[in-house]
């Protein structure tokens, strides 16, 4: 498998405080990889540097071999990286399908076009994306009245519109009911296996992480302390220390 994302020695310091201290890792093509860690470990800081919302203090980020360090979010998006946010940022004054159409309009580079009516453009295509996340029944509802879980699914549909090769998801299931979490992550896992998209996500819910992620990375105090399969991460003494102060961690038997 080829590497789609490569991060080298990434650092971010705020007035001397190192929020992220020399993180290096890679995400392979078609991989579903999780980045976990306690609160304040630097997960979101890391994410924001990957997608260009934050400028790293040092280090490099490569997407598909091309250097994207310090590029703007919109440039990185155009190269084929999608992203969803911890707190959804959908367009409240548009309908569900218009939110998807907006992304398609941008993808097809029609942002400065003033002649056509926007809601007529790419409607069919947008509808197909809504189908992949089972939101087609709500296509014409105003976005402002959606339930939170539906907003998360809509955001996923939006992130898929430019057929990204890599998807960055910051806490995709935060604030959702347990059953909805499992459903959403199953959806993401299906998309990974069907479309060959690579996904990197952060998550607090360990059930979600250990049930779906192919590989798991653990971040603590700005440093990566583990990077491997679920079993390897579970067995890692440092990870156990961080999460349980030395106790056993996420036993498979816990489901029994």
């Amino acid at each position: 498998m080829t590497e789609i994302l490569r991060v080298e020695n990434l650092k971010k310091s705020y007035d001397g405080f190192l929020a992220v201290n020399g993180v290096s890792f890679a995400v392979k093509q078609g991989e579903l990889k999780a980045l976990i860690g306690p609160n304040g470990a630097g997960k979101s800081t890391c994410f924001n540097m990957l997608m260009g919302q934050l400028k790293p203090t040092a280090g490099e980020v490569f997407f598909d071999g091309a250097r994207i360090t310090g590029k703007r979010p919109r440039e990185i998006w155009r190269m084929g990286v999608g992203r969803t946010f911890q707190i959804t940022g959908t367009y409240q004054s548009m309908t569900v399908i218009e939110n998807v159409q907006m992304a398609l309009i941008s993808h097809h580079r029609r942002l400065y076009s003033v002649l056509p009516r926007a809601w007529k453009l790419y409607r069919e295509e947008a509808f197909e994306f809504l189908k992949t996340v089972s939101m087609q029944d709500q296509a014409d509802r105003p976005c402002s009245i959606l339930a939170y879980g539906d907003l998360k699914r809509l955001e996923l549909a939006i992130a898929l519109t430019h057929r990204p090769r890599l998807l960055l998801m910051d806490e995709p299931t935060a604030g959702m009911a347990p059953t909805a979490r499992v459903e959403l992550m199953q959806l993401v896992a299906d998309i990974v296996s069907e479309q060959g998209v690579s996904v990197l996500f952060t998550e607090h819910d360990m059930d979600v992480v250990f049930a779906h992620a192919h590989h798991i990375m653990v971040l603590n105090r700005g440093e990566l302390i583990a990077d491997g399969s679920a079993a390897e991460v579970r067995a890692n003494p440092q990870v156990q220390e961080v999460y349980l102060g030395g106790g056993t961690l996420f036993k498979e038997a816990s489901h029994a």
């Binding site: 703007r72 919109r74 946010f85 367009y91 004054s93 218009e98 003033v114 105003p142």
Partner: protein, 619 residues
């Protein structure tokens, strides 16, 4: 050198009042996030109440006692305004509070006229401080020296209050996070009222302290508000030392400007502000605004839709009526309709960037007046044929918008509003002071259309075609991908950037387009009146457009147009009354509090309720 020093002292003395007023405004903004346009009115009230009290109370004790009492009185008035007008709308978007405070300005203006009359009052001299002291041989009024000596103590007292007392801790905490302070059991409502009262009192003291140097008149409120905003913005919103430094800077510059560059006094202040904001976008000692709070009033904005068959029929019927109007209307009605269409296009162009783009511009008159002046200058100086000169109105306004937008678009929220205001003041002062070219306040006259358009009826149709045409073009663009991208950037800039939209560039293009349309309105305007004066570029003209958009309803597409229609008719009626400002101000305040969705928004809500097709009802 001695002369220069004396000038410097005069500047310092002038800075005292300015600092008091500005620190009050800064304090109010810091805590309540309200940009209080009525602050100049409190300053004016301070002057008038001060004069009255000084006449009543004799001697040394009387003079200084009157100043003290004035502040307390103005503070009480401020508290009253805060409780009645502002308290109901704290959760509303910034624009609502701005408009409400503008209503307060109008009300106070007419109340002051009722109580104190139209004549200017000369302030009494301070007892015992009538003469001058010689400093390096130059005469400096004793009162100036005393004020210069007092001001640092006031700054220190304020600084002590804010940084060293429990009240100050609460105030600073509220500046950082209002909700948290509320959650800690502090009665926010009273904290806000208290801060507003203190801020108003400071303005009142500023008004009273300047009495021996100036006096009291009914234009004081608008005359100082520009300078006060410049000071607060240069110093950094919410920073007391910043306000002090900026007040000194502006006052000294002003005094020197009057002496050495009398042609540029008005421009100077705004040039300084523009330069500071370009280098330090949040002022000398200001901090970057944490993403402005945007409260919601009523229901969230509904997705936009083109009119259904009923709506389209109504629009067509209205257009048919307008087209048939010359058949039965008299000349005066036609002229009123021309005014209305011009104003509607102007308002629609502002509504385009404000409603769809979320860009609250305080200087939109620069493009309306700029377009009018561009055409008028060509006709006046080079006898350009009307048809060609007319084309230059939207063209020049668009170029002006490109230039101004280049500086302003990088800022957001209040700072964006202030910088647009500064640039429009710059344009205004050019028109006002560059007499060789613009003839100053004599205006440019004899700017008439070509013979084929010189009749009222032909010009009416000309206005209808271009004015309504412009409005329809704007409407169409709102529904186009470009309009959607503009709204996307307003709804969630972060999401928009993360889907490939260059938000600032889209806003820049929209700003320029709005400029073109405002310039078009200005072009129609100038040839219908045959003249143009600097008043078309004044702050008040920009505010008129803001109020109209707001009255019509920011969240509705027809808001600007309907508001303009309403305002033209209402003004036509109201200005026949003696105290029309009072009525208009009360109407504005009432609309803000009772119908914050504006005319169109409220009508639409009524309509959906009657038909019962609310989205919620479907569930």
């Amino acid at each position: 050198m001695a002369f220069l020093f004396a000038q410097f002292l005069t500047g310092l003395a002038n800075a005292s009042s300015l600092f008091l007023v500005a620190s009050g405004l800064s304090l109010i903004f810091g805590v309540t996030r309200i940009v209080n346009f009525a602050h100049g009115s409190f300053y004016m009230l301070g002057a008038f109440i001060g004069v009255t009290l000084m006449e009543l109370l004799p001697g040394h004790v009387g003079f200084w006692g009157a100043i003290l009492l004035t502040g307390l009185a103005v503070g009480a008035i401020g508290a009253f305004v805060e409780m009645v007008v502002l308290r109901p709308i704290y959760r509303a978007p910034e624009l609502f509070q701005l408009v409400a405070t503008f209503g307060v300005i109008l009300v106070i203006q007419d109340l002051a006229l009722m109580i104190w009359g139209a004549e200017d009052r000369l302030g009494p001299r301070a007892p015992g401080l009538r003469g001058v002291w010689r400093i390096f041989g130059e005469p400096v009024p004793k009162y100036d020296i005393v004020i210069i000596a007092i001001t640092p103590f006031i700054l220190f007292a304020l600084w002590y209050l804010i940084t060293r007392t429990r009240v100050g801790v609460l105030v600073r905490a509220a500046t950082q996070d209002r909700e948290m302070v509320g959650a800690l059991g502090v009665n926010q409502a009273w904290l806000f009222t208290g801060v507003f009262a203190l801020g108003s009192a400071l303005a009142g003291w500023g008004g009273a302290l300047q009495l021996p140097k100036g006096g009291a008149d009914l234009l004081m409120d608008f005359n100082i508000i520009g300078a006060v905003f410049v000071v607060v913005v240069i110093g950094g919103m919410g920073s007391l030392p910043g306000a002090f430094i900026a007040a000194v800077l502006i006052s000294v510059l002003n005094v020197l400007g009057v002496t050495y560059l009398p042609q540029s006094t008005l421009v100077l202040m705004f040039v300084v502000m523009a330069v500071v904001l370009i280098i330090r976008p949040y002022g000398l000692l200001g901090r970057e605004e944490v993403a402005g709070e945007h409260g919601q009033v009523g229901a969230p904005e509904t997705p936009i839709r083109p009119y259904g068959t009923t709506g389209q029929m109504l629009v067509i019927a209205l257009l048919a009526l307008l087209a048939a109007l010359p058949l039965f209307a008299d000349r005066f009605l036609l002229i009123l309709m021309i005014d209305m269409v011009v104003f509607a296009l102007f308002a629609a162009s502002l509504h385009f960037i404000l409603g769809s783009g979320g860009l609250v511009s305080f200087g939109h008159a620069a493009f309306f007046g700029g377009g009018a002046y561009a055409a008028a200058l060509l006709v006046f100086h080079t006898d350009t044929p009307m048809e060609l000169a007319f084309l230059f109105a939207p063209l020049a306004a668009g170029l002006l918008a490109l230039g101004i937008g280049w500086f302003c678009i990088r800022l957001t929220g209040v700072y964006f509003a202030m910088l647009t205001l500064a640039f429009s003041q710059l344009v205004w002062s050019l028109a006002f002071q560059w007499r060789e070219v613009t003839r100053g306040d004599d205006g440019l006259v004899n700017i008439w259309p070509s013979p084929w358009l010189s009749g009222t009826v032909p010009y009416y149709y000309f206005t209808l075609a271009l004015g309504i045409g412009g409005i329809l073009v704007l409407r169409h663009i709102i529904h186009s991908p470009f309009g959607y991208a503009l709204r996307a950037g307003r709804d969630s800039p972060r999401q928009a950037e993360a889907m490939g939209i260059d938000v600032k560039r889209i806003q820049f293009a929209a700003f320029a387009l709005a400029g073109v349309m405002a310039g078009l309105a200005g072009g129609i305007f100038v040839f219908s009146k045959g003249s143009v004066f600097p008043t078309e570029l004044e702050i008040a003209a920009s505010f008129d457009a803001l109020i109209v958009v707001f009255l019509g309803g920011v969240k509705t597409l027809a808001g600007g147009v309907v508001g303009a229609g309403f305002m033209t008719v209402a003004e036509d009626w109201l200005t026949r009354l003696e105290y029309w400002r009072l009525v208009l101000g009360l109407v504005i305040i009432a609309v803000v509090i009772i119908a914050p969705e504006g005319i169109v928004g409220s009508l639409r809500r009524l309509w959906t309720r009657l038909r019962g097709t609310d989205e919620e009802a479907l569930q």
